[in-house]
């Protein structure tokens, strides 16, 4: 990995860390989606959502599920990197992609 790539990855790691730290303090309050819903309700005061979520987790459960999603994504990405690294060292061919 060249110096520029290392810099980029370090930048990315810092951003991820900052987000993770901030998430624990802010939770999901002040979410842009919630603000958009509030605006929709203000624009159409008589509108009542016609369906309810399958599961309505409380804040703690929501945080746990979000973390679960984060960890799952990180682990999967890590597994891909490990497998690709092994294949690369063995000299296996990798197809490039820029498909439509």
């Amino acid at each position: 990995m060249d110096a520029r790539s290392v810099g980029l990855v370090a930048c990315a790691a810092l951003i991820l860390a900052a987000i993770a730290l901030n998430t624990s303090e802010t939770g999901v309050t002040g979410d842009a989606d919630e603000r958009a819903q509030a605006l929709a309700t203000a624009l159409a005061p008589g509108y009542v959502p016609w369906a309810r979520p399958v599961l309505e987790p409380d804040k703690t459960q929501e945080t746990v599920f979000f973390r679960l999603q984060t960890v799952t994504g990180m682990v999967l990405f890590g597994v891909v990197l490990v497998i690709a690294g092994r294949r690369s060292r063995r000299g296996a061919p990798h197809a490039s992609a820029a498909r439509r």
Binding site: A32, Q37, A51
Partner: protein
């Protein structure tokens, strides 16, 4: 960017599902064809899905006390092609709709159009265009990711404006209001999306999972 469960009128929810369906169908065809054609396709798909899962779980606080999350869809558009993201995107949306009450089953079509169709196609188009005019691969990938996530949120704002037009200024006025809410978080967030996408592309390229137009 997820529109909540039941928050679009039935006719709108149905219409967006109809719009999304052919893209998802085409994406599934592409996915099965590509998976059979290349031994590295499962890794590219895995990286794309994992990155989308990871980034869409990251709540980013922004100015004014608001927060939102990146989508991570640009990476998949570059690695697997934008058509395939119409399959991977809804899987993440489904996870969030079922477990997090974030988005919803009734709004899955609308959210798929915004996050898994418009966003990836925009990212892919910008990425290809910038490279065609001589832009550096990293710049092309970053710009594509940033504009793609902005396009996603603009689409969500348009979907909401169509359903909830402003009484005085109509759909256009509604769009400006909804887009204004998202812009506060999305502008800084698009920079984060760009940086993380380019970093991920570099990490993957080092391990032999590159894209056709050189390392990004």
């Amino acid at each position: 960017m997820h529109i909540a469960e039941g928050f679009l009128p039935v006719s709108h929810a149905a219409a967006w599902t109809v719009v999304a369906a052919p893209f998802v169908g085409y994406g599934m065809r592409r996915l099965s064809r590509d998976a059979a054609a290349s031994p590295s396709a499962p890794l590219l798909l895995g990286a794309s899905g994992a990155f989308t899962l990871l980034l869409s779980s990251l709540k980013l606080p922004s100015v004014g006390g608001s927060s939102s999350h990146p989508t991570g869809c640009a990476l998949g558009a570059y690695l697997c092609g934008p058509a395939v993201m119409a399959v991977l995107g809804p899987i993440v949306l489904l996870f969030q709709a079922l477990l997090l009450a974030h988005g919803g089953l009734t709004t899955l079509g609308a959210n798929t159009v915004a996050m898994a169709i418009v966003g990836p196609w925009t990212s892919w188009g910008v990425w290809r265009l910038v490279q065609r005019v001589g832009g550096a691969p990293g710049v092309a990938a970053g710009l594509g990711a940033a504009i793609g996530v902005l396009a996603t949120y603009a689409t969500t704002a348009a979907q909401l404006a169509l359903a909830f037009p402003d009484p005085a200024s109509g759909i256009a006025g509604g769009f400006v209001k909804f887009a204004g809410i998202f812009a506060v978080t999305q502008l800084p967030l698009s920079v984060v999306e760009a940086l993380l996408t380019v970093a991920a592309l570099n990490v993957l390229a080092v391990r032999g999972l590159g894209v056709a137009h050189g390392r990004a």
